[in-house]
């Protein structure tokens, strides 16, 4: 099954940021760093900058990701900014509608609302977030959210929020999310950066079962993967050991902030731990641009992804900026076609 042909334009390039907290640095440092990196990404011509949602996890500062998205919007002027994802079952849809409405009012047409179904935290954190359990399924919660945006609820209005034109994306790491996005006619992002096992299956299902709507006549698929680029393969591999260590400690059940890179992971993990980490990080693109470029092109062709959203974490901040630069230089960024998910903009793209 061919989703694209070689003459297709290359996939758009976007960035996903978990606001990683580094060993020896504060959570506040991580937040301010994310705002600065987003401005850097805008100058480099990236299409979107999305912020993840995680709770009760020491290595990640992006728990209040709508607040952080607001800071990134205020610190940039053209790049699209969004949640990737916001876990809808954690919040009252009215609150989400009001938040998105506030950001869209002040930064019109630049916000994406990426929604997920996972809680983004452990059971204790989840019960602290959700004061009441909402047993309805995602589609019902989404319908309530849309009713505020459309102003169809006569008794409760989202002010601001009514009329906000914020594209909704669905994110997931399984076939169920892919099928749901297809059924609802939404853009779909597969989170392969930490759970790649069902990537090909989910992408095929999304494309084959997509139900067109007036707003979305064609499917729009994105894949999130890890990408750490440096001037040489060796340097990139070394930088990537920070992420490998983070996953190693997560496997061991003791999450900790991002560690500096090491020369060799071998002494740090047992063979079975190494296997487990490498399975989770199977969708990682690490190396010099000439090494990574053909692999990412092949990924897009194989999965039919129109856009790649890359997570590029390093301990060293200059190296992270350099990685962003090298990713941006992988291929020329297209001027976006006018689709409902990604309105054409001027000035952001080279």
């Amino acid at each position: 099954m061919a989703f694209t042909c070689t003459s297709s334009p290359p996939p758009r390039l976007s960035l996903l940021d978990l606001a990683p907290v580094r060993q020896g640095h504060t959570v506040g440092d991580a937040l301010r760093r994310t705002v600065a990196l987003a401005a850097h990404a805008e100058r480099l011509g990236f299409h979107r900058y999305w912020l993840a949602e995680h709770h009760n996890m020491a290595p990640m500062a992006s728990s209040a990701n709508t607040v952080l998205a607001g800071a990134v919007l205020a610190g940039t002027s053209t790049i699209r900014v969004g949640t990737g994802s916001l876990n809808l079952s954690n919040y009252a849809p009215l609150v989400v509608a009001e938040q998105i409405g506030t950001l869209d009012a002040l930064h019109p047409g630049r916000m994406d609302l990426g929604l997920g179904r996972a809680p983004g935290g452990d059971p204790w954190a989840t019960s602290a977030i959700r004061r009441r359990s909402d047993d309805r399924d995602f589609a019902a919660q989404l319908a309530e959210l849309l009713s505020y945006r459309q102003g169809t609820d006569r008794q409760v209005r989202a002010i601001p929020g009514e009329g906000a034109r914020v594209p909704i994306h669905l994110l997931g790491s399984g076939v169920h999310s892919a099928a749901l996005a297809a059924r609802l006619g939404l853009p779909f992002t597969f989170a392969a950066h930490f759970a790649p096992a069902r990537l090909d299956e989910a992408m095929a299902l999304y494309h084959s079962t997509f139900r067109p709507t007036k707003a979305m006549p064609e499917p729009y698929a994105m894949v999130s993967v890890n990408a750490v680029l440096a001037d040489t393969d060796e340097e990139a591999a070394r930088l990537f050991t920070s992420v490998q260590q983070r996953f190693l400690f997560t496997v061991r059940g003791r999450m900790r902030p991002l560690d500096p890179p090491v020369d060799d992971m071998g002494p740090l993990w047992t063979p079975s731990e190494g296997t487990a980490v490498q399975e989770q990080l199977a969708q990682s693109y690490v190396g010099a641009p000439s090494t990574v470029r053909p692999r990412l092109e092949a990924l897009a062709v194989r999965t039919g992804a129109r856009e790649l959203i890359l997570m590029s974490e390093t301990y060293d901040q200059d190296a992270r900026e350099r990685s962003y630069e090298l990713i941006a230089g992988l291929w020329p960024q297209q001027i976006p076609s006018t689709t409902t998910t990604s309105p054409a903009r001027k000035g952001a793209l080279r």
Binding site: G28, R32, A71, A74, A92, L94, V95, T102, A105, A125
Partner: protein, 331 residues
């Protein structure tokens, strides 16, 4: 009079939407006013929380605080207040921890008991059974998440923990006053719309205050409506917007309306009395008049700080009122 000039001046903004205007304009004006208030030298700029009200754009308070903080660089920015029964304390801690991380040392977290919104909105906010009676417990939870982590703590606010974002208790009764006193927190009295218990609440607050890590002596902030203009007549004319706001509230649906020439034609004597009672703590007039009114207010309340609401139909005139007030404070 000398004491008045040392009393810090702050701003409370509801992000009012003009009748026939848009929430977008209201939000842009909220950010613009903050920038200019910082230039005028105001101490804090706080945003309120209201839902499902066509005339108020400040529903996503923490998000709007973030936008104001990003557009300014020195002024303190905060909530006046987060209505805690509407939210999970953990989520509030994460949001304000994020704001504090982005803008270190500039963020305030004012907390209030939601004044019972309509049942439909309460349901949409998933308020559940959490009500005003749980307020002290919810305040303690927020404070715990923003404090230093304790051994074995299962749920941590990241960002949030260890930030010690300063808390403020908002109230219009002795309940809030007693809670603020017991917890050793600053107390903000909503005398700008509910002045009845102002004196007794301040008394309760000061008599019962117990020092805390955050605060070693009482800090009472008093809410006041101010409309300053070049002349008393002009200020009284501009004030009719706020008078009509309370009039329409009394009648069932709050609206922000342009000023009128003769407010007496708009209301019945009974309505006039109700509005006047609600707006009793207001300073309206030329700079000279406003100064006298505020000197009296500080004298009678011993307020440690005034938090000022100025609602004027025209954005430039509203901003000018804040500028005039700041000028008399620094003159």
């Amino acid at each position: 009079m000398t004491k008045t000039r040392n009393t810090p001046l702050s701003i409370l903004n509801l992000a009012p939407i003009r009748k026939g205007g848009s929430a977008v304009d209201a939000l842009h004006e909220t950010v613009d006013l903050a920038r200019r208030a910082e230039g005028f030298g105001y101490h804090r700029y706080w945003i309120a929380e209201h839902h499902n009200m066509a005339a108020v754009a400040s529903s996503a308070t923490s998000l709007l605080i973030g936008q104001v903080a990003a557009a300014t660089s020195r002024i303190r920015v905060g909530s006046g207040g987060i209505m805690l029964p509407n939210h999970a304390p953990y989520v509030v801690a994460e949001q304000f921890g994020t704001l504090e991380g982005l803008h270190p040392g500039r963020i305030d977290l004012g907390l209030g008991r939601a004044p019972g919104t309509d049942p439909f909105t309460a349901r949409a906010l998933r308020r559940g059974d959490a009500g005003a009676n749980d307020f002290p417990q919810q305040v303690a939870e927020v404070r715990g998440f923003l404090g230093d982590p304790t051994p074995g703590q299962r749920v941590r606010a990241i960002p949030g923990e260890g930030t010690h974002v300063p808390l403020y208790i908002l109230g219009s009764s002795t309940f809030g006053a007693a809670l603020a006193a017991q917890e050793g927190l600053p107390f903000v009295f909503a005398s700008h719309f509910a002045p009845d218990q102002l004196q007794v609440a301040l008394q309760v607050y000061r008599d019962n205050f117990r020092p805390s890590e955050q605060l070693d002596k009482p800090h009472a902030i008093v809410g006041v409506n101010v409309v300053a203009a070049d002349t008393d007549e002009e200020a009284q004319h501009l004030f009719t917007t706020l008078q009509q706001k309370f009039l329409t509230l009394v009648r069932g649906e709050l609206q922000n309306l342009p000023p009128v020439e003769d407010i007496a034609k708009e209301w019945s004597p009974q309505e006039e009395r109700a509005v006047a009672a609600a707006l009793r703590v207001s300073a309206v007039g030329s700079p000279r008049t406003v100064r006298g009114e505020l000197d009296d207010l500080v004298k009678h309340t011993s307020a440690d700080e005034l938090i000022v609401l100025t609602e004027i139909w025209n954005h430039e005139k509203r901003t000018r009122s804040y500028e005039l007030l700041a000028e008399l404070w620094t003159a």
